[in-house]
């Protein structure tokens, strides 16, 4: 596992040197790892257990110099895994899988999010723009990593846990576990008003998903606290 963390650090460091790290948002399970490092109240968060590290690349359009991210990762021993049917790429290593994501801009949007200046095509997914609504920079060693605000992260996890297919029941349970742990951290930090504020702004359909997720996990008392 320490090899995995070292590799992730090396990848991030390389992306920083290439001048693109500050435009990438780390989304997915690795956020919890960075919260653990950044917030002193986050020591109770579960340790990272995922091989996939996901980056939201939609802010890369602000970068005007070309960076061949694909070549950079290949130099580090990654291999490119082109998903021919959907047109996006992932980068495989024995310890981690790097995925690039972008928000789906319309229902059933076809094709990947193309970033020819960076040698990558990103996968488009729903609800990702929610993670972009409030981002923060967290310190990890000598790096500054951009992640969603923990409250946004947790609420997003509750939403996606309800949207996963039935066969992904473990992933769904893991989403909820991570969400609840981050919500607990925020409550310990006295940030309950932040959770309330974000929840008051989400569309009604999403709120239904959030409620359903909390009811299923017998966490209904949270609904009383947050709504």
């Amino acid at each position: 596992m320490s090899d995995q963390r070292e590799l992730v650090y090396n990848v991030l460091k390389k992306l920083e040197k290439e001048g693109v790290l500050k435009y990438l948002i780390v989304v997915g399970g690795w956020c919890v790892f960075f919260y653990r490092h950044h917030f002193k109240e986050a020591q109770m968060l579960p340790p990272i257990r995922t091989r996939d590290i996901e980056f939201d690349v939609s802010r890369l359009k602000k970068v005007f110099h070309k960076v061949d991210i694909s070549a950079t990762l290949k130099e580090m021993g990654f291999i490119e895994d082109f998903q021919a049917s959907e047109g996006f790429v992932r980068f495989l290593h024995q310890d981690i899988i790097i995925e690039f994501l972008a928000p789906e801009t319309g229902r059933g949007q076809e094709g990947p999010y193309k970033l020819p200046g960076f040698g990558i095509n990103a996968q488009t997914i729903r609800y990702l723009n929610f993670l972009e609504e409030e981002i923060i920079a967290v310190k990890y060693k000598d790096l500054s990593i951009i992640v969603p605000h923990p409250a946004i992260f947790a609420i997003h996890k509750l939403i996606v846990s309800e949207r996963r297919p039935l066969k992904n029941i473990e992933k769904s349970a893991n989403d909820v576990r991570q969400a609840l742990a981050v919500l607990d951290m925020l409550e310990n930090m006295g940030e309950i008003n932040k959770i309330k504020k974000i929840l008051s702004g989400v569309p009604r359909g999403w709120l239904k998903l959030i409620k359903s997720s909390l009811v299923k996990t017998k966490e209904t008392d949270r609904l009383n606290r947050y709504l």
Partner: protein, 104 residues
């Protein structure tokens, strides 16, 4: 326990898939390592290729700096891929032992 073992199964499946991809990438990298012999102060470039127990040497003629770098890069790439496959084999062995799964 079920959730835990399902996660490990998923890890095993991922490791097997990634290993397959590394093996196929490795097969795409041309074989041979660059050998530079210094004869009477002049460098002579050979490509050493293992064929079974024997190593065959193929004279490459004069190489530019860019060509030498290309050969070295390919060697490094092969080394990295072999190392990745070795580590994946260890992961697979470990996961199979934990899950009590026999190799196919």
């Amino acid at each position: 326990m079920n959730i835990f073992s399902n996660m490990l199964k998923e890890e095993l499946e991922n490791s097997l898939k990634i290993k397959e991809r590394f093996l196929s990438e490795l097969n795409e990298v041309p074989v041979g390592s660059l050998n530079i012999k210094n004869i009477k102060g002049h460098p002579y470039y050979y490509l050493n290729i293992r064929e079974g127990d024997k190593v065959k040497s193929q004279y490459l003629g004069k190489l530019s700096k860019a060509q030498i770098k290309e050969y070295k890069d390919l060697e490094n790439k092969r080394k990295k891929y072999r190392q990745s496959i070795k580590e994946l084999n260890q992961q697979i062995k470990y996961l199979r032992r934990v899950l009590n799964v026999r190799s196919a």
